[in-house]
Symmetry: C2
Subunit: 187 residues, 2 copies
């Protein structure tokens, strides 16, 4: 990481920033840049991350990354997907539980997706992380944010919100950040 | 309408185009323009209609209008609102019925919203139409499209999909188109 001393993370979401800053702790200074970018519509996390990273660099003129993340439920056609934040604001976890009421087995499968878009003015790179699991039958736990209380990662009996900091080691976000860090090591 | 002989309606939705063309029948030639515009995110039908009308004019260089429409359910924070088409694709009418299961009275209130954005290169104008009603307890009727089978307009016992062409006289879309036509008469 010799070439980059500090890196901007463009997000208005404080929870997200704190989780990501934790991963970089002692490795690289990460600064929150709460600047407006136009998040395009569309169902590709990757396309959204690329577009936002490009816009963020254009405004900052410094190496910057963005993260587009969401919950995708295959039995609902990938809903809420790239509109996860908006759907959460409207329906909350109760809405997702209601939509899955009475469903069992594979129809409860879900995955958290993270796509980081990085731009340094020369290239735009993306780094992905996926954490598979199921939607729990009800909200459990107080840690984390968003859909964390209803998402139970594979191999665990706890939801992300129950796992607390234990979430960090296995989350979609940690996988994507790990891929970004690997890239930055050889930068 | 002396100044405008033909008018482009930018939409990829054939159902929408047919409904609107019907309103203009014998008054003005309306031509479907299925061109790509970037529909921005956001919760304002008006802002979306303005942005799309501006983009459509930029590509066509001819007087053009767009229509942004959707179903808004106040007890769900306005969901699905400006994301109605996407939500319909993912959840369908069954999803909306599921979300409202067990709710009664005012919590079933809903409105169909239409906002037309018109651009002739000089000005961008918007014209709104709202049709209030309720979400029916189940799907009824085969006419129309999208959420028509679950939307029962105020003062009627039938859903939009049961009303068939009777929908045209009272719909959100007819009100917005009426306002556009009034504007074009004095154009």
């Amino acid at each position: 990481m010799a070439a980059i001393k500090e890196l901007y993370f463009c997000t208005g979401n404080r929870h997200k920033f704190n989780e990501v800053a934790e991963f970089f702790n002692g490795k690289l200074k990460v600064i929150q840049a709460d600047i407006d970018v136009d998040e395009p519509r569309g169902e590709s996390f990757e396309e959204i991350a690329k577009s936002c990273a490009k816009q963020a660099y254009k405004k900052l003129k410094k190496p910057v990354f963005v993260e587009d993340a969401g919950l995708a439920i295959p039995s609902l056609g990938g809903f809420p997907g790239t509109y996860s934040a908006w759907v959460f604001k409207k329906l909350g976890n109760d809405g997702i539980l209601k939509l899955l009421e009475g469903k069992t087995g594979a129809r409860l499968a879900a995955e958290f997706v993270s796509c980081i878009g990085f731009c340094d003015g020369k290239a735009i790179k993306t780094f992905n992380g996926i954490c598979k699991g199921i939607i729990a039958p009800n909200c459990r736990g107080n840690a984390g944010f968003g859909y964390d209380p209803i998402f139970q990662p594979a191999g665990h009996n706890e939801t992300f919100a129950e796992l607390g900091s234990g979430k960090l080691a296995i989350s979609h976000r940690s996988i994507a950040v790990g891929a970004l860090q690997k890239y930055l090591r050889d930068y």
